[in-house]
Amino acid sequence: MNLGNELKSLAPDMDTEGLVAGVLRKRRRRQQALAGGLALAVVAVATPLVVDGFTGNSDPVAVEDAGTPEMEEEVGPMSEPQEESGGDVAEESEIPPMGDWPYYVSLEELLEASDVVVLATATDDVRTEEVGPLEPEDPTDPQQNPTLGVPDAEPPPPHTVHIRDLEVRDTIRGDVAPGATIGLVEDHGPWDTAMLEGYEYLLFLSSGGDNRFYLVSPVQGMYAVEDGQVRDVVQDPDKAIPLEELQELIEEVR
Protein backbone atom coordinates (compact mmCIF):
# COMPACT_ATOMS: atom_id res chain seq x y z
CA MET A 1 0.00 0.00 0.00
CA ASN A 2 1.25 3.46 -0.81
CA LEU A 3 0.37 5.60 2.17
CA GLY A 4 0.21 8.87 0.24
CA ASN A 5 -2.05 7.52 -2.49
CA GLU A 6 -4.38 5.86 0.00
CA LEU A 7 -4.63 9.02 2.08
CA LYS A 8 -5.30 11.13 -1.00
CA SER A 9 -8.11 8.85 -2.09
CA LEU A 10 -9.56 8.82 1.42
CA ALA A 11 -10.66 12.46 1.42
CA PRO A 12 -14.10 13.08 -0.09
CA ASP A 13 -14.96 15.77 -2.58
CA MET A 14 -16.67 18.61 -0.78
CA ASP A 15 -18.85 21.43 -2.00
CA THR A 16 -17.20 24.85 -1.91
CA GLU A 17 -20.51 26.70 -2.12
CA GLY A 18 -20.85 29.05 0.82
CA LEU A 19 -17.14 28.95 1.57
CA VAL A 20 -16.53 32.57 0.60
CA ALA A 21 -19.51 33.77 2.65
CA GLY A 22 -18.16 31.84 5.63
CA VAL A 23 -14.73 33.36 5.16
CA LEU A 24 -16.13 36.88 5.06
CA ARG A 25 -18.21 36.19 8.18
CA LYS A 26 -15.15 34.96 10.04
CA ARG A 27 -13.19 37.91 8.74
CA ARG A 28 -15.69 40.32 10.26
CA ARG A 29 -15.56 38.53 13.60
CA ARG A 30 -11.81 38.47 13.49
CA GLN A 31 -11.60 42.20 13.01
CA GLN A 32 -14.05 42.71 15.86
CA ALA A 33 -12.05 40.40 18.10
CA LEU A 34 -8.76 42.09 17.34
CA ALA A 35 -10.28 45.49 17.96
CA GLY A 36 -12.00 44.34 21.13
CA GLY A 37 -9.01 43.86 23.39
CA LEU A 38 -5.32 43.37 23.11
CA ALA A 39 -3.77 42.37 26.39
CA LEU A 40 -2.92 39.22 28.21
CA ALA A 41 -5.29 38.97 31.13
CA VAL A 42 -2.46 38.29 33.50
CA VAL A 43 -0.70 41.55 32.83
CA ALA A 44 -3.57 43.68 31.68
CA VAL A 45 -4.71 44.89 35.06
CA ALA A 46 -1.40 45.82 36.56
CA THR A 47 0.75 46.74 33.62
CA PRO A 48 -1.05 48.95 31.16
CA LEU A 49 2.33 49.55 29.56
CA VAL A 50 2.04 46.13 28.01
CA VAL A 51 -1.48 46.77 26.86
CA ASP A 52 -0.37 49.90 25.12
CA GLY A 53 2.73 48.31 23.73
CA PHE A 54 1.10 45.20 22.37
CA THR A 55 -0.26 45.53 18.91
CA GLY A 56 -1.14 41.88 18.34
CA ASN A 57 0.96 42.09 15.21
CA SER A 58 4.26 43.48 16.33
CA ASP A 59 6.36 41.51 13.91
CA PRO A 60 4.51 41.42 10.64
CA VAL A 61 5.53 38.77 8.22
CA ALA A 62 7.10 40.07 5.07
CA VAL A 63 5.04 39.58 1.98
CA GLU A 64 7.90 37.70 0.38
CA ASP A 65 7.86 35.18 3.20
CA ALA A 66 4.63 33.67 2.04
CA GLY A 67 5.19 30.39 3.81
CA THR A 68 5.29 31.75 7.33
CA PRO A 69 1.90 33.09 8.31
CA GLU A 70 1.44 35.10 11.44
CA MET A 71 0.74 32.82 14.36
CA GLU A 72 -0.17 35.74 16.57
CA GLU A 73 -3.18 36.58 14.49
CA GLU A 74 -5.20 33.52 15.32
CA VAL A 75 -8.79 34.03 16.21
CA GLY A 76 -10.41 30.93 17.55
CA PRO A 77 -13.79 29.74 18.67
CA MET A 78 -13.04 30.59 22.27
CA SER A 79 -13.26 34.27 21.48
CA GLU A 80 -15.76 34.34 18.72
CA PRO A 81 -19.47 34.90 19.17
CA GLN A 82 -21.75 31.99 18.54
CA GLU A 83 -22.68 31.25 14.98
CA GLU A 84 -26.13 32.53 14.22
CA SER A 85 -27.01 29.57 12.13
CA GLY A 86 -25.24 26.61 10.67
CA GLY A 87 -21.54 25.74 10.62
CA ASP A 88 -18.95 26.16 13.34
CA VAL A 89 -19.80 23.01 15.22
CA ALA A 90 -16.71 23.35 17.39
CA GLU A 91 -17.76 26.78 18.57
CA GLU A 92 -21.15 25.64 19.72
CA SER A 93 -19.69 22.96 21.95
CA GLU A 94 -17.21 25.19 23.75
CA ILE A 95 -17.48 25.33 27.53
CA PRO A 96 -15.94 28.34 29.26
CA PRO A 97 -13.30 27.67 31.92
CA MET A 98 -14.71 27.65 35.43
CA GLY A 99 -13.22 26.70 38.76
CA ASP A 100 -12.21 27.81 42.20
CA TRP A 101 -8.63 28.90 41.74
CA PRO A 102 -6.63 31.80 43.07
CA TYR A 103 -6.67 34.76 40.70
CA TYR A 104 -3.70 37.07 40.52
CA VAL A 105 -4.59 40.60 39.55
CA SER A 106 -1.08 41.63 38.64
CA LEU A 107 2.12 40.23 37.28
CA GLU A 108 3.70 41.07 40.62
CA GLU A 109 1.19 38.90 42.47
CA LEU A 110 1.68 36.09 40.00
CA LEU A 111 5.43 36.22 40.45
CA GLU A 112 5.09 36.31 44.23
CA ALA A 113 3.04 33.12 44.08
CA SER A 114 5.59 31.38 41.87
CA ASP A 115 8.60 29.51 43.20
CA VAL A 116 9.84 29.02 39.69
CA VAL A 117 9.24 30.70 36.33
CA VAL A 118 10.67 28.80 33.40
CA LEU A 119 10.60 28.43 29.66
CA ALA A 120 10.22 24.72 29.13
CA THR A 121 9.34 22.28 26.38
CA ALA A 122 6.66 19.68 26.95
CA THR A 123 7.80 16.11 26.38
CA ASP A 124 5.52 13.19 25.70
CA ASP A 125 6.62 11.49 28.92
CA VAL A 126 3.43 11.56 30.98
CA ARG A 127 2.88 9.30 33.95
CA THR A 128 -0.18 8.80 36.11
CA GLU A 129 -0.09 8.59 39.84
CA GLU A 130 -2.67 8.21 42.57
CA VAL A 131 -2.52 10.69 45.41
CA GLY A 132 -4.43 11.02 48.64
CA PRO A 133 -6.85 10.98 50.13
CA LEU A 134 -5.26 13.66 52.26
CA GLU A 135 -5.88 13.53 55.97
CA PRO A 136 -7.75 16.71 57.01
CA GLU A 137 -5.76 18.95 59.29
CA ASP A 138 -8.99 19.73 61.11
CA PRO A 139 -11.39 16.75 60.97
CA THR A 140 -14.19 18.93 62.34
CA ASP A 141 -14.02 21.29 59.37
CA PRO A 142 -16.62 20.17 56.80
CA GLN A 143 -14.65 21.79 54.02
CA GLN A 144 -11.67 19.62 54.80
CA ASN A 145 -13.73 16.62 55.82
CA PRO A 146 -16.76 16.31 53.53
CA THR A 147 -17.96 13.14 55.26
CA LEU A 148 -18.09 14.81 58.65
CA GLY A 149 -21.01 13.43 60.61
CA VAL A 150 -21.60 10.48 58.31
CA PRO A 151 -21.35 7.30 60.36
CA ASP A 152 -18.94 4.69 59.03
CA ALA A 153 -18.22 6.82 55.98
CA GLU A 154 -15.86 5.36 53.44
CA PRO A 155 -12.77 7.51 52.89
CA PRO A 156 -12.77 9.29 49.55
CA PRO A 157 -10.99 7.42 46.79
CA PRO A 158 -7.46 8.39 45.77
CA HIS A 159 -7.13 11.02 43.10
CA THR A 160 -5.28 10.33 39.86
CA VAL A 161 -2.94 13.02 38.56
CA HIS A 162 -0.76 13.17 35.46
CA ILE A 163 2.90 14.07 35.73
CA ARG A 164 4.49 15.38 32.56
CA ASP A 165 8.22 15.80 32.13
CA LEU A 166 9.34 19.20 30.91
CA GLU A 167 12.74 20.14 29.60
CA VAL A 168 13.75 23.55 30.94
CA ARG A 169 15.35 25.82 28.36
CA ASP A 170 15.64 28.92 30.46
CA THR A 171 14.95 29.86 34.05
CA ILE A 172 13.51 33.32 34.52
CA ARG A 173 13.04 32.97 38.22
CA GLY A 174 13.77 30.28 40.80
CA ASP A 175 16.17 27.49 41.47
CA VAL A 176 15.98 25.23 38.45
CA ALA A 177 18.94 24.80 36.17
CA PRO A 178 18.45 25.34 32.44
CA GLY A 179 18.63 21.96 30.76
CA ALA A 180 17.06 20.20 33.72
CA THR A 181 14.03 17.96 33.44
CA ILE A 182 11.24 18.68 35.86
CA GLY A 183 7.88 17.06 36.46
CA LEU A 184 4.70 19.09 36.08
CA VAL A 185 1.78 17.69 38.03
CA GLU A 186 -1.26 18.20 35.82
CA ASP A 187 -4.29 18.14 38.00
CA HIS A 188 -6.69 20.56 36.44
CA GLY A 189 -9.31 18.56 34.62
CA PRO A 190 -9.88 19.58 31.03
CA TRP A 191 -6.71 21.68 30.87
CA ASP A 192 -4.60 18.58 31.30
CA THR A 193 -4.71 18.06 27.58
CA ALA A 194 -3.82 21.60 26.65
CA MET A 195 -0.08 20.97 26.44
CA LEU A 196 1.34 19.78 23.16
CA GLU A 197 4.52 17.76 23.13
CA GLY A 198 7.40 19.50 21.45
CA TYR A 199 6.05 22.98 22.16
CA GLU A 200 7.51 25.53 24.51
CA TYR A 201 5.65 27.16 27.36
CA LEU A 202 6.22 29.92 29.85
CA LEU A 203 5.22 28.46 33.18
CA PHE A 204 4.59 30.00 36.59
CA LEU A 205 5.10 27.15 39.02
CA SER A 206 4.97 26.35 42.67
CA SER A 207 7.28 23.66 43.94
CA GLY A 208 5.90 20.49 45.43
CA GLY A 209 9.35 19.16 46.30
CA ASP A 210 10.98 16.10 44.84
CA ASN A 211 11.46 17.87 41.48
CA ARG A 212 7.70 18.20 41.05
CA PHE A 213 5.94 21.42 40.26
CA TYR A 214 2.39 22.70 39.99
CA LEU A 215 0.92 25.55 37.96
CA VAL A 216 0.16 28.35 40.37
CA SER A 217 -3.19 28.54 38.61
CA PRO A 218 -4.48 26.45 35.73
CA VAL A 219 -5.74 29.57 34.00
CA GLN A 220 -2.85 31.92 34.75
CA GLY A 221 0.15 29.63 35.09
CA MET A 222 0.68 28.47 31.52
CA TYR A 223 1.41 30.43 28.34
CA ALA A 224 2.51 29.06 25.02
CA VAL A 225 5.65 30.49 23.44
CA GLU A 226 6.10 30.54 19.71
CA ASP A 227 7.99 32.76 17.33
CA GLY A 228 9.01 34.98 20.22
CA GLN A 229 5.42 35.56 21.28
CA VAL A 230 3.85 34.56 24.57
CA ARG A 231 0.24 33.57 24.11
CA ASP A 232 -2.45 33.29 26.74
CA VAL A 233 -3.35 29.79 25.64
CA VAL A 234 -5.97 29.08 28.28
CA GLN A 235 -7.86 32.30 28.78
CA ASP A 236 -7.66 34.01 25.43
CA PRO A 237 -5.57 32.47 22.65
CA ASP A 238 -6.02 35.57 20.52
CA LYS A 239 -3.82 37.59 22.82
CA ALA A 240 -0.05 37.50 22.74
CA ILE A 241 2.83 39.73 23.67
CA PRO A 242 6.51 39.52 22.77
CA LEU A 243 8.45 37.29 25.15
CA GLU A 244 11.22 39.84 25.30
CA GLU A 245 8.78 42.45 26.53
CA LEU A 246 7.41 40.17 29.20
CA GLN A 247 10.92 39.26 30.37
CA GLU A 248 11.70 42.95 30.71
CA LEU A 249 8.56 43.42 32.77
CA ILE A 250 9.51 40.54 35.03
CA GLU A 251 12.92 42.09 35.50
CA GLU A 252 11.21 45.34 36.47
CA VAL A 253 9.03 43.59 39.03
CA ARG A 254 12.10 42.01 40.57
Binding site: P69, G87, P237
Partner: protein
Protein backbone atom coordinates in the same frame (compact mmCIF):
# COMPACT_ATOMS: atom_id res chain seq x y z
CA UNK B 1 -4.30 38.26 -15.62
CA UNK B 2 -7.12 39.40 -13.40
CA UNK B 3 -7.59 37.26 -10.36
CA UNK B 4 -9.99 37.38 -7.47
CA UNK B 5 -10.25 35.84 -4.04
CA UNK B 6 -13.65 34.40 -4.91
CA UNK B 7 -12.24 32.75 -7.99
CA UNK B 8 -9.35 31.34 -5.99
CA UNK B 9 -11.75 29.82 -3.46
CA UNK B 10 -13.92 28.39 -6.22
CA UNK B 11 -10.92 26.78 -7.90
CA UNK B 12 -8.85 25.67 -4.95
CA UNK B 13 -11.40 25.44 -2.15
CA UNK B 14 -12.12 21.79 -2.86
CA UNK B 15 -8.47 20.84 -2.53
CA UNK B 16 -8.16 22.80 0.68
CA UNK B 17 -11.28 21.16 2.07
CA UNK B 18 -9.93 17.70 1.29
CA UNK B 19 -6.68 18.54 3.07
CA UNK B 20 -8.64 19.81 6.04
CA UNK B 21 -10.83 16.72 6.06
CA UNK B 22 -7.77 14.49 6.26
CA UNK B 23 -6.71 16.43 9.32
CA UNK B 24 -10.06 16.64 11.06
CA UNK B 25 -11.95 13.64 9.72
CA UNK B 26 -15.14 15.67 9.79
CA UNK B 27 -16.84 17.82 7.15
CA UNK B 28 -18.00 20.56 9.49
CA UNK B 29 -14.63 20.89 11.17
CA UNK B 30 -12.93 20.81 7.79
CA UNK B 31 -15.11 23.67 6.54
CA UNK B 32 -14.51 25.57 9.76
CA UNK B 33 -10.77 25.06 9.48
CA UNK B 34 -10.60 26.16 5.84
CA UNK B 35 -12.79 29.20 6.48
CA UNK B 36 -10.63 30.18 9.43
CA UNK B 37 -7.41 29.78 7.46
CA UNK B 38 -8.78 31.75 4.51
CA UNK B 39 -10.09 34.47 6.82
CA UNK B 40 -6.64 34.84 8.32
CA UNK B 41 -5.01 35.01 4.91
CA UNK B 42 -7.65 37.13 3.20
CA UNK B 43 -5.73 40.36 3.60
CA UNK B 44 -2.68 38.91 1.88
CA UNK B 45 -4.39 37.93 -1.31
CA UNK B 46 -3.73 41.14 -3.17
CA UNK B 47 -0.20 41.38 -1.80
CA UNK B 48 0.98 37.99 -2.99
CA UNK B 49 1.92 37.86 -6.65
CA UNK B 50 0.04 34.77 -7.71
CA UNK B 51 -2.45 32.15 -6.56
CA UNK B 52 0.23 29.50 -6.09
CA UNK B 53 2.03 31.61 -3.51
CA UNK B 54 -1.24 32.47 -1.83
CA UNK B 55 -2.29 28.82 -1.70
CA UNK B 56 1.02 27.89 -0.11
CA UNK B 57 0.41 30.59 2.47
CA UNK B 58 -3.13 29.34 3.12
CA UNK B 59 -2.00 25.73 3.47
CA UNK B 60 0.66 26.70 5.96
CA UNK B 61 -1.91 28.63 7.95
CA UNK B 62 -4.36 25.76 7.73
CA UNK B 63 -1.94 23.21 9.15
CA UNK B 64 -0.65 25.52 11.84
CA UNK B 65 -4.16 26.44 12.83
CA UNK B 66 -5.06 22.79 13.04
CA UNK B 67 -2.33 21.91 15.48
CA UNK B 68 -2.78 25.07 17.48
CA UNK B 69 -3.68 24.74 21.10
CA UNK B 70 -7.05 26.38 20.90
CA UNK B 71 -8.22 23.78 18.45
CA UNK B 72 -7.02 21.14 20.83
CA UNK B 73 -8.97 22.76 23.61
CA UNK B 74 -12.02 23.23 21.47
CA UNK B 75 -12.07 19.73 20.09
CA UNK B 76 -10.50 17.99 23.04
CA UNK B 77 -13.46 15.74 23.59
CA UNK B 78 -13.95 14.96 19.97
CA UNK B 79 -13.62 11.32 19.15
CA UNK B 80 -13.46 10.23 15.57
CA UNK B 81 -16.73 9.01 14.24
CA UNK B 82 -16.99 6.29 11.70
CA UNK B 83 -15.15 7.23 8.55
CA UNK B 84 -17.75 7.46 5.85
CA UNK B 85 -16.05 6.32 2.72
CA UNK B 86 -19.09 6.52 0.48
CA UNK B 87 -17.93 9.98 -0.50
CA UNK B 88 -14.39 8.90 -1.22
CA UNK B 89 -13.12 7.65 -4.51
CA UNK B 90 -14.53 4.28 -5.43
CA UNK B 91 -11.12 2.97 -6.45
CA UNK B 92 -9.29 0.46 -4.33
CA UNK B 93 -10.08 -1.36 -1.16
CA UNK B 94 -12.87 0.35 0.77
CA UNK B 95 -12.25 -1.66 3.93
CA UNK B 96 -8.63 -0.68 3.88
CA UNK B 97 -9.59 2.99 3.67
CA UNK B 98 -12.01 2.68 6.54
CA UNK B 99 -9.22 1.10 8.58
CA UNK B 100 -6.74 3.73 7.47
CA UNK B 101 -9.16 6.50 8.38
CA UNK B 102 -9.65 5.03 11.82
CA UNK B 103 -5.93 4.55 12.33
CA UNK B 104 -5.26 8.11 11.21
CA UNK B 105 -7.63 9.39 13.86
CA UNK B 106 -5.56 7.71 16.57
CA UNK B 107 -2.55 9.92 15.80
CA UNK B 108 -1.80 13.07 17.71
CA UNK B 109 -2.48 16.34 15.92
CA UNK B 110 1.18 17.12 15.21
CA UNK B 111 1.68 13.57 13.96
CA UNK B 112 -1.36 13.77 11.70
CA UNK B 113 -0.31 17.14 10.31
CA UNK B 114 3.24 15.96 9.69
CA UNK B 115 2.07 12.73 8.03
CA UNK B 116 -0.39 14.46 5.71
CA UNK B 117 2.10 17.13 4.72
CA UNK B 118 4.80 14.55 4.07
CA UNK B 119 2.75 11.90 2.27
CA UNK B 120 -0.26 13.78 0.86
CA UNK B 121 1.28 17.14 0.05
CA UNK B 122 4.56 15.41 -0.82
CA UNK B 123 6.67 17.93 1.06
CA UNK B 124 10.20 17.21 2.21
CA UNK B 125 10.94 16.99 5.92
CA UNK B 126 12.53 20.42 5.76
CA UNK B 127 9.42 21.86 4.11
CA UNK B 128 7.14 20.19 6.65
CA UNK B 129 9.26 21.70 9.39
CA UNK B 130 8.90 25.14 7.86
CA UNK B 131 5.15 24.81 7.44
CA UNK B 132 4.58 23.59 10.99
CA UNK B 133 7.17 25.90 12.51
CA UNK B 134 8.97 23.03 14.18
CA UNK B 135 12.57 21.86 14.16
CA UNK B 136 13.29 19.18 11.55
CA UNK B 137 14.16 16.73 14.29
CA UNK B 138 10.75 17.18 15.86
CA UNK B 139 9.07 16.64 12.49
CA UNK B 140 11.08 13.47 11.91
CA UNK B 141 9.99 12.24 15.30
CA UNK B 142 6.34 12.96 14.58
CA UNK B 143 6.52 11.24 11.21
CA UNK B 144 8.43 8.27 12.58
CA UNK B 145 6.02 7.81 15.46
CA UNK B 146 2.99 8.45 13.28
CA UNK B 147 3.98 5.86 10.70
CA UNK B 148 4.90 3.43 13.47
CA UNK B 149 1.46 3.98 15.02
CA UNK B 150 -0.21 3.31 11.67
CA UNK B 151 1.83 0.15 11.25
CA UNK B 152 1.00 -0.91 14.77
CA UNK B 153 -2.68 -0.10 14.53
CA UNK B 154 -4.97 -3.08 14.92
CA UNK B 155 -6.76 -2.09 11.76
CA UNK B 156 -3.63 -2.10 9.62
CA UNK B 157 -1.59 -4.90 11.10
CA UNK B 158 -2.05 -7.00 8.01
CA UNK B 159 -0.98 -4.19 5.72
CA UNK B 160 2.51 -2.99 5.03
CA UNK B 161 2.73 0.79 5.14
CA UNK B 162 5.26 2.13 2.67
Amino acid sequence: MDRSFEQFVAERGGSLLRAAWLLTGDRHHAEDLVQTALAKCFGRYEELPDDARFESYVRTTLHRTYISWWRKLSWRNEKPSEIRVEHASSDGDVDLRVDLGRALRTLSRPQRAAITLRYVEDLSVAEVARVLGMPEGTVKTHIHRGVAALRGSDELQSVEVD
